[in-house]
């Protein structure tokens, strides 16, 4: 009846539950993946600025203040591909977005749309090869993350821009206590003493609301629940007080009750620390709850971006419209969910013209031939990559 072939995907076998992370009685997997927390394990070059307490933010003298009109993080026209057995996989095709201090930008897209690859490229943790960054810029306070020296990039990573991942269990090192991991960078880069590091670890664990922090600082990752591990990873990412936090599906593996706690925490910390938060997700519910602005990706392209109210209230792009219509809603029941026909394209064979045309109910002849550009709609910071403006689509559907 049941086949279990662990070689396929990261999905757990059936008997393991649904991959939700909570694993009472299962203990720790035999071969945990290497820890991948950005900027943590590869840089021990030291940081010569001894800093005082956590409450005084470290000065960042080496980074220029953004000039007016400049964004804190400004990704421009990013193109990334992979050489695969089946051909060239074009996974990021001209992606642009920006984010400013104190703001939450959501990058919304289905799996495979290129969200994680984009984030990894920005952070400089994308393996090249197999990936090739064809072109583009990722300007952090005006400085291009893609062309800076590896040494400089290691400074920025973790220090200025940090990331939390979906799977906290594989991102944390199983053999070190969490307190040790949270302060790794503080010790290796800032030369913080052991005693001071312990104090800071407790502080950070308090900050992310881990109960009884002082008692739990020497516990190992497997002794924490999925939600608590996610908090540990957030504490770790925030230890250096980055200006930008990229959270890649931070709650996808968690239950709704725990998801609500973590999203709360991220929102609170974003406000308290005046960070810019980039929230990567496929969940339209989560986005509606916390985002200020939204960038929608499809087949490695930005198909729409708008502020959250406009995007939900008046989606412009047919894909966004379809997505919103297919979400089942708690307050609604009844027959027949709207669905988008077909499936997202394979990145080695993205349809010509508009990548969405085989699934688009509005598609016309020109959509098969010409790729639409991302065009501004009205005076707002709002754009859609469709040949037809929203009014034209509305008129056609009426």
């Amino acid at each position: 009846m049941t086949y279990q072939y662990p070689s396929h995907g990261q999905g757990q076998g059936y008997g393991q539950g649904s991959g939700q992370g909570q694993s009472y009685g299962h203990g720790y997997p035999d071969s945990p993946t290497a820890p991948v927390v950005a900027g943590w394990n590869d840089d021990r070059t030291g940081w010569d600025t001894p800093t005082a307490a956590w409450s005084t933010p470290p000065t960042r003298a080496r980074v220029e203040r953004p000039r007016s009109g400049e964004h804190l993080l400004d990704v421009r026209d990013l193109w990334i591909e992979f050489a695969t057995r089946d051909g060239v996989a074009r996974v990021v095709n001209g992606v642009s977005f920006h984010v400013d201090p104190g703001e939450t930008l959501a990058i919304l897209g289905e799996s495979g749309s290129g969200k994680s690859v984009t984030a990894q490229a920005v952070l400089g943790i994308l393996d090249t090869p197999p990936a090739v960054v064809r072109s583009g810029q990722a300007l952090f306070s005006g400085e291009d993350l893609l062309t800076m020296t590896p040494e400089r990039r290691r400074q920025v990573r973790g220090q200025e821009i940090a990331m939390v991942f979906q799977d906290a269990l594989s991102a944390l090192n199983p053999v070190y206590p969490v307190g040790w991991q949270i302060t790794e960078a503080l010790r290796s880069r800032r030369g913080v003493s052991k005693a001071e590091a312990r104090r800071r670890a407790v502080e950070m664990m308090d900050l992310v609301q881990i109960p009884a922090a002082a008692q739990r600082i020497d516990d190992y990752p497997h002794q924490f629940s999925g939600g608590m591990r996610q908090r540990v990873m957030i504490a770790m990412a925030l230890a250096m007080r980055p200006k930008v936090l990229i959270a890649d599906e931070p709650t996808t593996a968690l239950d709704v009750t725990v998801q609500a706690q973590i999203m709360d925490l991220l929102a609170t910390l974003r406000a308290e620390l005046e960070m810019a938060l980039i929230l990567i997700t496929h969940d339209l519910g989560v986005v509606a709850d916390v985002a200020d602005r939204i960038t929608v990706m499809y087949a490695g392209r930005v198909v729409e971006h708008a502020d959250v109210h406009t995007l939900y209230g008046a989606p412009a792009h047919p894909y966004t419209r379809g997505l919103l219509a297919s979400v089942p809603r708690l307050e609604r029941r009844g027959q027949g969910l709207h669905s988008i026909s077909g499936t997202p394209p394979n990145p080695v064979a993205i349809p010509a013209g508009c990548a969405f045309h085989p699934r688009c109910p509005y598609a016309q002849q020109m959509c098969r031939m010409t790729e639409p550009t991302l065009l501004r709609i009205g005076r707002l910071d709002r754009a859609s990559a469709c040949h037809f403006p929203p009014e034209a689509l509305d008129a056609r559907h009426a």
């Binding site: 059936y14 909570q22 009472y24 986005v287 969910l337």
Partner: protein, 336 residues
């Protein structure tokens, strides 16, 4: 009120404890994970029972008990009047045709070395007496068409399909023996929103056409609301509240149900201000050592001393005519 048909499946006090052992040479039992700890419900022909609850609360274990993929510790489960938990292998095999299962993970639940035709037709090999008269290939092609796959796909392998298509293959296989009950364990959780809707619609269409009864397990409460006639909410191996979909969603009386519903993200930014999320502190306790009295009391904001000493039965409460396992059951509307 129409007359209620006889339940096709009746579960009475189902229990599954996994022993926790210590010692490699001579394992000693030192405790038990109480994965399912006294669950009862009825499923009527053609209806959908939605089973919801946080990770680890015992949903999949319950499903596996009913499929006899796990042996029950105690309890009874009657499928069309026959006790699944006490049946011998031969009888069980025959009865099992009436009940099939669709797994959560379309990536691991299909044998990668078998063609789609072999996968979908496999039940006919296991149950030759149930095989359709005549051509097996034709039966397989019909099944593929029924789930919206092209019959030309029959000779391909699972890896050549997307997640949504693989889930359709799993559904086609489950349909092969013309079951009356299908247990769907998180059938759409691994799928993208746009594809999820396709599979949900397919399940609904098949139910209408074939009169299937579903047990629909999911952690996404919005999907469950959409497809279910009745709901059972589980917490630490027990059902804490059950009723029609409207009763549970619109008039929840158990604090856990209320918290769960309030935490569901709403895809509407204008709802931010109106929404009141009930924040549960902490995590689900270990099912190896559930709290005394009410199992939810360690996270319940209404807990009283009585909750630690006296376990609240799942019974009808004065506030609304549906069962709720709370001493202090109160109506609290969460969904506008």
């Amino acid at each position: 009120m129409p007359v209620m048909p006889e339940p096709i499946l009746r579960v009475e006090n189902a229990v599954k404890h996994f022993p926790i052992t210590r010692g490699v040479v001579v394992p000693r039992k030192i405790g038990a994970v109480k994965a399912v700890d006294g669950v009862s419900f009825d499923l009527r022909p053609g209806e959908t029972l939605g089973l919801v609850g946080e990770s680890g609360c015992g949903k999949s274990t319950l499903a596996k008990l009913l499929m006899r993929l796990e042996s029950p510790t105690a309890g009874r489960a009657f499928l069309k009047g026959h006790d699944l938990f006490r049946m011998r292998a031969g009888d069980l095999r025959r009865l099992r045709r009436s009940m099939q299962m669709v797994m959560q993970d379309p990536y691991t639940s299909l044998n990668p070395r078998m063609t789609v035709a072999d996968i979908v037709g496999e039940p006919f090999e296991i149950h030759p007496d149930a095989a359709p008269p005549g051509n097996r290939d034709r039966a397989v092609r019909e099944l593929l068409e029924q789930v919206g796959l092209s019959p030309e796909h029959a000779n391909r392998y699972p890896h050549q399909f997307s997640g949504g298509q693989r889930q359709r293959i799993g559904i086609a296989r489950a349909l092969a023996l013309r079951p009356e009950v299908i247990i769907c364990d998180e059938p759409v959780s691994a799928l993208d929103v746009s594809v999820q809707a396709q599979v949900v619609n397919l399940l609904e269409r098949l139910q209408d056409e074939l009169g299937l009864a579903y047990i629909f397990i999911a952690h996404d409460l919005s999907v469950v609301r959409h497809i279910s006639d009745r709901i059972a909410v589980m917490y630490l191996g027990r059902i804490v509240e059950t009723g029609t979909a409207d009763q549970v969603y619109l008039r929840p009386t158990h604090p856990y149900t209320q918290a769960l519903l309030s935490a569901v993200p709403v895809p509407d930014p204008t709802a931010r201000a109106r929404r009141q999320i009930i924040r549960l502190s902490g995590d689900v306790p270990s099912p190896a050592d559930p709290p005394s009295g009410c199992r939810f009391r360690t996270r319940c904001w209404k807990a009283q001393p009585r909750c630690a000493s006296e376990e609240p039965p799942l019974s009808q409460r004065a506030v609304d005519p549906h069962p709720s396992a709370c001493h202090y059951a109160e109506l609290h509307q969460v969904i506008a």
